[in-house]
Symmetry: C2
Subunit: 355 residues, 2 copies
Amino acid sequence: MTLSRPSLMVNTSIVQKNIQRMLDKVSRNIQFRPHFKTHQNYEVGQIYRSLGIDKITVSSVEMAEFFANDGWTDILIATPLNILQIQQIKTLSKRINLGVLISSLDTLAIFLRECPENNLDIWIEIDAGYGRTGFSWQKKEVISQCIDAIAGTLGLSRVKGILTHSGHSYLCKTKNEIEQLYWLTLDRMKAIKASITRDNWGPLISTGDTPCCSIMSSFEGNDEIRPGNFAYYDLTQESIGSCRQSDIAVAVAVPVIGIYPERQHIMVYGGGVHFSKDYLDTHSEKIYGYLVEKKIDRWDPIDRQNRLIKLSQEHGTLQASSDLIRSVSVGDILYIQPVHSCLSADLLKANTMLI
Amino acid sequence: MTLSRPSLMVNTSIVQKNIQRMLDKVSRNIQFRPHFKTHQNYEVGQIYRSLGIDKITVSSVEMAEFFANDGWTDILIATPLNILQIQQIKTLSKRINLGVLISSLDTLAIFLRECPENNLDIWIEIDAGYGRTGFSWQKKEVISQCIDAIAGTLGLSRVKGILTHSGHSYLCKTKNEIEQLYWLTLDRMKAIKASITRDNWGPLISTGDTPCCSIMSSFEGNDEIRPGNFAYYDLTQESIGSCRQSDIAVAVAVPVIGIYPERQHIMVYGGGVHFSKDYLDTHSEKIYGYLVEKKIDRWDPIDRQNRLIKLSQEHGTLQASSDLIRSVSVGDILYIQPVHSCLSADLLKANTMLI
């Protein structure tokens, strides 16, 4: 692939380091099921595979199909079961070991009615404080009711475990806050586990957002962790302390299409349809990315006054230093690290280059 | 297509009305070259074609190729020429009448050096006040220099015209502000035209963002207009007064995946990878969309307390009224009008349904 338009550049040696660092923290008794929505890429999947990973998480039925087509055989769709896709899910479950997430009694009732026979792994989603989806951690009797309903129709052994995503870790401002959130989440999950454990059966506990998994040094008490973003990281993770700039594996390559010294702007071909509109809210301006320099084995930081401050559909406005303005020409490729690598990777699925 | 996952629903009768309304304002001596980046869809292109349109605008080389493959033969790529794609552009120009945009002397020099022979239509981009790309309207001598350089190498007749995009119309708060911006832009473009017109040659003036083209009732003084968003419209356009809610042609269909009466949230399968992260900044909260009701020929408004207030990658949080909460079940499809239809259409290219 020649580099002539906005492309996601993935430094594979950083990806490998990021995965290995996480693996080193996961003890043998804990299952590592990384989230593949971050990369949605077969070659990055291959890096995981070469490190011994064989269980993965995805965020849609189509993404499960995509990775099943690349030979992955144990996939959990970690978004609330969309009952409108139940036939598609059942079809896929004939080929692979497929897990689904039950987040409400309403959905469960339809699921049990429409799938009296199925071989899906069932996970119960717990809302341990994030406030998005799942059964509230405070409603133990409802969770118990849910387990009973599944046990009655499909058998208790089909319930794999209880699962939560602590997305509110992204709102933390310090490592200490993230650590506290991790422990609080684990305590709540353990309490639920204790309340629903029965003779000869107990659920697995599955947690693991990137901020918590990056800050913690081990995960005892969990049975499974599912971080995803950590393979790439991004400016958001750096801003909350989950990673250093040197851990960010990706940058978006963008062609220079105009230079405006009078207002210190470099215009790049790279906009909202490449970066997404997620931003860092810093110094009373929106920042959509920071410029970095491409080296063989790393992305070197550059003075952060060189920042992406505006995005149209296809154009990006890079506020640039006088030095940079002098050294850049139209037709050059610049590299900009994104605010949210999952969304950039989703947008640039067809234009991703591993280096 | 069965409706089981997030999809862009396009009400074609509203699209037709929106296009016809614009066409009615375009007099015979003015060229109408609508921007196709809004829809990126062959069937919507067919609606334009059936109304007599044969010239179009796009925002990337790939989009030009996409529409050339559907039989469009007069296409303008209205983003600054990316010289890294010059071979791709030359190849495409052998099949169709292709226009490119020259926005700087640097790019022009490379273009003339690398393309001493080509049959591209050349447009000169003017920055008439937006401050994004193009030659500043104040620098008439530079624009003249640009014309001379093209005339010397390719001949003056190859310069089609001067073109501007007044993207700052999106920042206007009232119709009156938009109208003033329109006249100011046109005055500046006319002054440039006057300063560069030569014996037997004068450039066309091409303008036309959706807010200005929606507010104005005629376009005398322009030779070409290029609005795009007006075919679909969206909540942004409604908020600045370019359209009414009833003119918005699209809504994103989203399955209900959870209902949380205690916090009045309906969780939908529909997130940042479907809506984009563009938002309306109202009442100290971000709004990503408003719920509407699907009727055969229109999208009926619903109490706007029913609003999309949060987006994850795949999940959307709809703040809902008690009435709505009571009437909705998991597995229902809801319809939400987007804040920025161009970005939603880009994200949902593969899941668009015309109704």
